[in-house]
C-alpha cells in the first residue's frame, strides 16, 4: 500500500549538506502497525513527513495506493494529506481558538463535506477515542491525554489510508500514554494502518513491527517478539 524506493533527503543550509535520509526503501502493507525507532536526529521525522506528503524528497520514488506521488503539485499533495493521511503530532497541534468538535471537523471542511455530515462524523470519531464530554471546550481547557485523543479523532475522521504518528506519547505521562496506545491498538485492530515514530522501547512494543534507523539509514526491520496488548 505504501512503498518508497531509494528515497534520499538532503538538507542544504548554506554550504552545509546534510543527508537526513540515505537511499531508503520500505514497504508497508494494509493493517500494519509499524514503530520507527532510533536516536535523535537519525531521520525518523523526516521519513514520516515525506510519507505524509508534507515534505518533498530529494530523490527516489513514493508510491501510495498505486499512485506515484513524487511528481504531484502542492494542491494535489494537500488533497492526499486530506483524504489519505492522518497526522498525530507530539505537540498535538490543535487549533487553540476552535472547540474540540470544530477541530475534529476541520479536515472535513477542507474535504467539502456538508456541515450536517461533518457534525455526525466528528461525533462518531470522538466516540471512537472515548471522548464525548468537553467537546465544546477549547483545547486549552482539557488535559494532554484528552488533547491527543482529539488529535486522533481528527486524524481518523476522513478515513485515511494510513495514520502517521510522530512521538504521539512524547508529551504524556504513563497513564495517558497507555490510554492513547490502547486507542491506537484498537484502531489498528479495526483495520487502520499505522506508522508511529517513538524512541521509547516500551511504546514501540505496542506495535507489530519495529524499524530501527541510524544516520538516515534503516539498520533493522523485524516483527515485535513480545508484543504488549492492552
Amino acid at each position: 500500500m505504501i512503498r518508497i524506493e531509494n528515497v534520499t533527503k538532503v538538507y542544504k543550509t548554506g554550504t552545509i549538506r546534510l543527508t537526513a535520509l540515505n537511499d531508503i526503501s520500505l514497504h508497508i502493507g494494509p493493517g500494519e502497525f509499524v514503530a520507527v525507532m532510533g536516536p535523535s536526529g537519525c531521520g525518523k521525522s523526516t521519513l514520516l513527513n515525506i510519507l505524509g506528503c508534507l515534505d518533498r524528497m530529494s530523490s527516489g520514488h513514493y508510491i501510495l495506493n498505486g499512485q506515484d506521488v513524487s511528481t504531484l503539485g502542492g494542491n494535489e499533495l494537500a488533497r492526499i494529506r486530506n483524504k489519505e493521511i492522518g497526522f498525530i503530532f507530539q505537540s498535538f497541534n490543535l487549533l487553540p481558538r476552535m472547540t474540540v468538535l470544530e477541530n475534529v471537523e476541520l479536515p472535513m471542511v477542507y474535504a467539502g463535506v456538508s456541515a450536517r455530515e461533518r457534525r455526525e462524523r466528528a461525533l462518531e470519531a470522538l466516540s471512537k477515542v472515548d471522548l464525548s464530554e468537553r467537546i465544546r471546550h477549547r483545547p486549552t481547557e482539557i488535559s494532554g491525554g484528552q488533547k491527543q485523543r482529539v488529535a486522533i479523532a481528527r486524524a481518523i475522521v476522513n478515513n485515511p489510508s494510513i495514520i502517521l504518528a510522530d512521538e504521539p506519547t512524547g508529551n504524556l505521562d504513563t497513564k495517558a500514554t497507555e490510554e492513547i496506545m490502547k486507542i491506537i491498538q484498537k484502531l489498528n485492530n479495526e483495520g487502520a494502518t499505522i506508522l508511529m515514530v517513538t524512541h521509547e522501547p516500551d511504546v514501540a512494543r505496542f506495535s507489530k513491527r519495529i524499524i530501527r534507523m541510524r544516520d538516515g539509514c534503516i539498520i533493522d526491520d523485524r516483527p515485535v517478539q513480545s508484543r504488549t496488548i492492552l
Binding site: N49, G74, N93, Y110
Partner: protein
C-alpha cells in the same frame, strides 16, 4: 468550504483580537467617513445653492455696467429700468439694485446697516418671504417715499420684537440719517448668523425704494446693476439680449459693450462646477487617508500571518489547499475593511449632519455615495489583503509547522 463558513471563521479571528482589529479599522473608518462627509456636504451645498438660485429665479438676468469702460452717461437710470419692463415683452419684473452701507438707529440703538434699494419688483425678484405688513409699492417707489422693509433678524436685534410694522427707523449716512417708516418685515436670509454671540457686528438689513435710497444718501438716480426677470425659462436668453440692446439704444453706446448680461443659471453652473471640483479635491485628499488605512490593514494582516504561521502549517497538514488559506486571510482583510467601511459610513453621515448643522447646509447622502463607499472599502480590503494572503497561502507546510 463555503462563504458563510469563511466569514464565520474570519469573524472569530477578528473577534479574538478585538482591540487590534478595531485599531486597524480606524484607518478605514476615518478614510471612509471623511470622504462621505465631504461628498455629502458638497452635494448638500450644491443643492442648497441651486435651491437658492432657483428661488431668486432661474428666470433672472443680472445686467451690470462694466465699470472698467463705462462713462458716467452709461449708468442705468431708473427710467431705463421702467422702459425695460414696459418695452420688452419677455420681461415681467425689473428692478435697479443699489446696495450701500450706512447706519440705522432706533433712537436708543445704532447699528451699521446694509441698505438695499430697488423697485417694488424687488419683492418678486428676491422672492422674499413677507412675515408682517407689506412690501413697499410702485407709487412709493415712484415718489421716493420714506418707507422701508427690514428683515426679521434685524427687527429682533434693533427692536427686540418681531412685528415692527409702523415703527420708525433712522437710516442714512452716519451724520445725516432720515426717518423712515417700517411697512413690513421679511424673513431673514442670514438666519444662520442670527444666533451667533457677536451679533453686534452683523449689520441691519434694510430694503427701501431705490429712489428713497438715492435721496437719503444724496446719490444720483442711476444704478450699475439691474435685475430683470423673464416670463419663462425659454425667454431668459432673449430677455437679456433685448435688454442690452434697449439700454445701448437709449444711451447710444452700442459697440462699446458696456452692459454685461449674466444669466443666473449660467452663474449657477459655474458655481456648481467650482464647488464640484473643490468637493472632488477634498474627497481625493480624504481618500488618501483611506489608502493609509489600507496599508494599516496590510500591515496587521502580515503580522497576523506571521503570528499564525503554525496554524497555517496545521491547516495545511490536514489538507488545506493554497486557495483555502488564501480565501481565509482575504476574507479577514475584506471583513475588517468592510466593517470599517460601514462604521465609516455611519460616522460620515453623522459627521455630515453635525457639520451641516453648524454650517447651515443640509447634507445630501446619495445612494451612490453609500454604495461606492462600501465597494471601495471592500476593494481596499482585497487590494491590501492579497499580498499577506498570498504569503500565508504559499508557506511551506513543514516549515510552518516547525515555526515556534
Amino acid at each position: 468550504m463555503n462563504l458563510i463558513e469563511n466569514v464565520k471563521m474570519a469573524l472569530a479571528s477578528i473577534w479574538a483580537n478585538k482591540m487590534r482589529s478595531f485599531l486597524t479599522m480606524l484607518g478605514i473608518i476615518i478614510g471612509i467617513s471623511s470622504v462621505i462627509a465631504v461628498v455629502s456636504l458638497g452635494q448638500g451645498g450644491q443643492n442648497t445653492i441651486t435651491g437658492e438660485f432657483e428661488k431668486i429665479g432661474a428666470n433672472s438676468v443680472i445686467i451690470n455696467v462694466d465699470s472698467n469702460n463705462a462713462e458716467s452717461s452709461d449708468y442705468i437710470t431708473f427710467e431705463d429700468v421702467n422702459q425695460l419692463k414696459e418695452k420688452i415683452e419677455y420681461i415681467r419684473y425689473a428692478t435697479p439694485v443699489i446696495q450701500i452701507s450706512g447706519w440705522a438707529s432706533t433712537g436708543t440703538k445704532t447699528k451699521a446697516a446694509l441698505v438695499f434699494g430697488g423697485s417694488a419688483d424687488l419683492y418678486q425678484i428676491e422672492n422674499s418671504d413677507l412675515l408682517y405688513g407689506r412690501y413697499f409699492n410702485e407709487i412709493e417707489y415712484e415718489e421716493g417715499k420714506a418707507v422701508a422693509v427690514i428683515d426679521s433678524s434685524t427687527a429682533k436685534r434693533l427692536f427686540r420684537m418681531e412685528d415692527v410694522t409702523g415703527m420708525t427707523l433712522d437710516v442714512g449716512p452716519k451724520t445725516a440719517q432720515k426717518s423712515v417708516t417700517i411697512v413690513g418685515v421679511v424673513k431673514s436670509e442670514y438666519d444662520m448668523f442670527a444666533d451667533m454671540a457677536s451679533d453686534d457686528y452683523i449689520p441691519a438689513v434694510v430694503y427701501m425704494p431705490a429712489t428713497t435710497v438715492s435721496y437719503i444718501f444724496s446719490l444720483e438716480e442711476v444704478t450699475s446693476r439691474v435685475i430683470v426677470m423673464a416670463d419663462s425659462k425659454e425667454n431668459v436668453e432673449s430677455a437679456g439680449n433685448l435688454a442690452k440692446i434697449l439700454l445701448e439704444n437709449r444711451h447710444g453706446n452700442r459697440g462699446r459693450d458696456v452692459y454685461k448680461a449674466e444669466n443666473m443659471m449660467k452663474q449657477l453652473d459655474q458655481i456648481n462646477t467650482v464647488l464640484g471640483i473643490f468637493t472632488t479635491f477634498v474627497a481625493a485628499v480624504a481618500a488618501i487617508s483611506l489608502v493609509v488605512g489600507g496599508v494599516g490593514v496590510m500591515n496587521i494582516m502580515l503580522v497576523s500571518v506571521t503570528e499564525r504561521t503554525r496554524e497555517i502549517g496545521i491547516r495545511k497538514a490536514i489538507g488545506a489547499r493554497t486557495g483555502h488559506i488564501m480565501i481565509q486571510f482575504l476574507t479577514e482583510s475584506v471583513i475588517i475593511s468592510c466593517i470599517g467601511g460601514i462604521l465609516g459610513l455611519i460616522f460620515g453621515v453623522a459627521g455630515a449632519y453635525g457639520l451641516g448643522r453648524i454650517a447651515g447646509i443640509s447634507p445630501h447622502v446619495s445612494p451612490g455615495t453609500v454604495i461606492i463607499a462600501i465597494l471601495f472599502s471592500s476593494a481596499v480590503g482585497i487590494f491590501f489583503g492579497i499580498y499577506p494572503a498570498r504569503k500565508a497561502a504559499n508557506l511551506d507546510p513543514i516549515e510552518a509547522l516547525r515555526y515556534e
